[in-house]
Symmetry: C2
Subunit: 446 residues, 2 copies
Amino acid sequence: MLMRVLDEALKLVEPTKEEREKVDKIAELAFNLVKDASKEFKEIKEIVFGGSYAKDTWISNDVDIDIFAKVDVNTDNERFEYIGRNLGLLALKDYKPYLKYAQHPYVEAIIEGIKINVVPCYDVKQGEWKSAADRSIYHTQFINDNFDEEKRREVRLLKRFMKTINVYGAEISVNGFSGYVCEVLILKYNTFINTLNNAKDFKEKTVISIYNYDKSLLDLFDTPIIIIDPIDNKRNLGAAISSNSLARFILASRKFIDNPSIKFFKQLSINPNRDLRKQVLVIKFSYRDRSDDIVWGEAKRSLRAITKQLQLHDFKVIRSACHVDIDNTVILFAILLEELIISKYYIREGPKIFAKDNSNKFLAANKDAEMIWLDDDRLKALKIREYNNTEEFLKMLLKEKLEQSGIAKGLIDDIRKGFVIYRDNFEERLINEIVDHITGTDELYL
Amino acid sequence: MLMRVLDEALKLVEPTKEEREKVDKIAELAFNLVKDASKEFKEIKEIVFGGSYAKDTWISNDVDIDIFAKVDVNTDNERFEYIGRNLGLLALKDYKPYLKYAQHPYVEAIIEGIKINVVPCYDVKQGEWKSAADRSIYHTQFINDNFDEEKRREVRLLKRFMKTINVYGAEISVNGFSGYVCEVLILKYNTFINTLNNAKDFKEKTVISIYNYDKSLLDLFDTPIIIIDPIDNKRNLGAAISSNSLARFILASRKFIDNPSIKFFKQLSINPNRDLRKQVLVIKFSYRDRSDDIVWGEAKRSLRAITKQLQLHDFKVIRSACHVDIDNTVILFAILLEELIISKYYIREGPKIFAKDNSNKFLAANKDAEMIWLDDDRLKALKIREYNNTEEFLKMLLKEKLEQSGIAKGLIDDIRKGFVIYRDNFEERLINEIVDHITGTDELYL
């Protein structure tokens, strides 16, 4: 059964000869364009392929071509960024190139449906990193030195599995497993199935390392899983992985081992509970276009702040989720609550009657209460909540208390320009999707 | 101001010459009847007055006449109870006498509006108590040996104050301060106002004793206030006083000292909040006539059990109260809730995903849940409550779970015969009163 599933999965993930030929052709075209353009920038020492294309670990129908420009280490940051912006724009000018932002700006374009990334990095020695992209060159080298065809196959299976369960990618929107992490896992555990067999028993703070490592470094790494970068043992590749992504991977590993199915390489269904929709609110607003990672980070932080404010006011949040829609520069916060309207009243606990001064203060301060009484020897007052309607509370929070709400500074102006709260009316496609998500049980759990 | 209030209060509590004459006449009549009848019981050694009449500490318009029959110490319990029943029935046969039950049965009758109690006790030496009534003789003696007219006046003020704030009486229905406790307090603090001046600063576990006492005995007394009986230092008169009664007395003492008012000797108003009535349920049922103290004890215990069951099922009880109506042999439980209908859903917290066996068990056990998801690395399931309607829950509890509910055994048969739950419809006088009580703020707190 397992073998049959893996055979079928391999057919899905392995590029065909025809696909390879097409991708190679486009890669060569883009590479030459970048190489030509690079002559305009004297600081550029070399143009190289990077990422999964360079490592030949890309998945069928799912490839980006990363082209790295190695820039002289003595180039200052301003010039480095100038090259990052202009090399790609110049090289791919015939393909509607556009700017993207990570730690530094870079350029993206699409040629015949395939995404090309033109990324600057410093031409540094191993360990002397200057920009976040500098390690990539060494990762590529390391994997190519250690991978054979078999490992490439196993990595393709693992990556596709990670994608299906929504934990693939180190970007903040996913907080999951990067392609490189998948490759390191296969180096560690040799096969896809052995990786899952290990993952299903992961404990909290499992440490994964290919080489021996300095145990004193572990104290630096306070993450749910620790994965030591084989080319830099001071770097924890697990830092990008959220506990939720790790948990999903562990659970999925158990499910797949117990019951192998091709679904784990295609799509897992989600089963939304229509009854729960009555208790969902969705906040929608537009944001100024900025780096995806920055906006995602702000959105996640802001949702946590909103959830916290709701809880502080006794609204019971069951689940919440955010979505940053890059195409429409729109952010969605979806919140599932135990009830949209909570009790009008709350009990304020006072002191025991023996504490005379505090008792007098409590009585004086609660003259306007709905009721004051002694519960045994403790004073209590029944008060009316300022807010017992979740929607009204959110409107107030996002209007009057925006600055104090804990919402990320970067989004405050965006929200001030306007937001809409949806209730009951979730037809819009993006809204429908996020509502299904927070009211749904993933096939993974069944 | 204080003096004027106390002068006015004294006029309310001091019996007039005319009243004394009437009461003395009836007391003498009853005494002679009991004395004559006692000749039929060779074990009876002496007939004596007891209680507030004997101590001359009774309040105007509010007197019971207690007549004690001192029975030979060698009389067995059966014969003792026989005397308790028959002496009074025989003596007061022309006044519709009826049986009452405390530790032992005794007889009550009403002559010209004044209640006569004919109570048996053993003729014991001090300290060699055989029945609960035996100490009374010595209490009477002790107070008469130590009280003068001034102290009698002060005690009358204190008793009336205690009555007005509903903390007078050691019986279980009140769990308050007995007449004898009031007398001991006046012996300790000399005057009414000095008693209140001390009470306003009572700390938890204040110890009150007229004489020196054996401090090692205090460990036996785990009550909110400890009052050593001057005729028996092994006895804590505070055992009958609930923390609520103590707290009300302390609070009232502060209020009166700060703002003396004749209201504290007449009546304090209660200010019910009509809005809260929507969240009240009242349970009513009849009980088989038994000793008041026993039924009150069962009612209070049962209400605690019902409240506990409600809380265990996430219904939020704000306040509750019971009332035993002696005249109609009816018990009422009134419960004020934060909401009568709570959320349909509740979250069941599961294990962290790392705990493999527990995770698998949790997933298997919650296949029927409304939703299962990973909150960070912890499994959670959303379930439907079996009961989210307080009224329906109570009906179920009092029908299907009566034996397991914690309700006092003595009331289970009564409830099984039938009960009514009232909601919104509280016109019936008794029901209206208890609803006003649990939705009301006492003048004491304002």
